[in-house]
């Protein structure tokens, strides 16, 4: 199944079968990302639905350009997620704040990156879900969406320094988790 102009046009014409097909594709495309922001499947799905409503209302803007549907709908999704976070804004600044500049110097960088590829999917999901909300959000925006710290501080309403710290802490937590879980799984196999 692929996104075609015909499919998008049928959605614009409110054809339910077309909309269902598009929804299924949309789900497959973005559920992983959405889950990684929201940390559980239920919240991720309701967020996906909010974004899909917006996609359906503005479908005419991409109906002649089906190849941009992926990036366009991803942007809609991420913006919807950020809106949601802003609505339920919790105390973020100074929450777990540390003098991270010093810590960074002492941190070893010996973790190998192959561990990420061999990690079980359920373990990965659990690791992501275990991150504090603001860390998860900042790390997703930085590592997956490719935003700069400057952009992230504008999007999340935090300082650049906090953004750097959140991304750094999230990465460290993930690295440690990957290492631990892989070790544990290897032992179980032996």
């Amino acid at each position: 199944m692929q996104i075609t102009s015909e499919l998008l046009e049928s959605c614009e014409a409110n054809d339910r079968r077309g909309q269902k097909r598009l929804y299924e594709l949309f789900f497959k495309m973005h559920m992983g990302v959405c889950f990684s922001y929201m940390a559980n499947e239920e919240d991720a799905r309701s967020m996906l639905n909010v974004a899909f409503l917006k996609v359906c209302t503005h479908i005419e803007t991409v109906k002649n350009n089906p190849q941009v549907f992926y990036s366009w709908s991803r942007k809609i999704l991420v913006n919807s997620i950020l809106d949601e976070f802003r609505k339920n804004k919790r105390v973020r600044e100074n929450e777990h704040r540390k003098e991270f500049d010093h810590e960074m110097e002492f941190e070893s960088s010996s973790h190998d990156n192959d561990g990420m590829a061999s990690l079980l999917e359920d373990d990965l999901k659990a690791l992501i879900a275990a991150l504090p909300e603001n860390m998860r959000q900042a790390f997703m925006l930085f590592a997956v969406e490719g935003y700069s710290h400057k952009e992230i501080c504008a999007l999340m309403g935090i300082t650049e320094r906090t953004s750097k710290w959140l991304v750094y802490e999230a990465r460290q937590a993930l690295k440690k988790g990957v290492e631990k879980l892989n070790n544990w799984n290897n032992k179980m196999v032996i």
Binding site: F27, G32, F35, E41, N49, S109, N113
Partner: protein, 106 residues
């Protein structure tokens, strides 16, 4: 730094390939949301149209009444002097008849 970038990319790749099972029940939920949105739109249309009809009626009514009012004022201005004289005469007649009434009572 490049090792961090490597880690981030490995993470990004795993996120992109994450597998979630799609269930038809999900679509049932979503289609209900789409229906709801259409209904809301219908309601919005109804509100806007009835609102504009009310606004037009109000405007027409306002114009009509202010015009009537100004016509009355104009008429009052033209007939001003004779009508006051007439009123004074009527008042005199009234007070004289009242006086006779009072005298009769006594």
């Amino acid at each position: 730094m490049s090792q961090e970038k490597e880690f981030d990319n490995a993470f990004k790749e795993r996120i992109g390939n994450m597998d979630f099972e799609f269930k038809d029940a999900y679509w049932t939920e979503m289609s209900a949301l789409l229906d709801n949105k259409k209904k809301k739109r219908g309601l919005l249309f109804w509100w806007i149209s009835s609102g504009s009809v009310a606004a037009i009626l109000l405007l027409v009514g306002l114009v009509y009444f202010t015009r009537n009012e100004s016509q009355k004022q104009w008429a009052g201005f033209v007939n001003d002097s004779p009508s006051t004289e007439q009123n004074m005469q009527e008042n005199e007649n009234f007070s004289s008849s009242k006086q006779t009434l009072d005298a009769n009572k006594n």
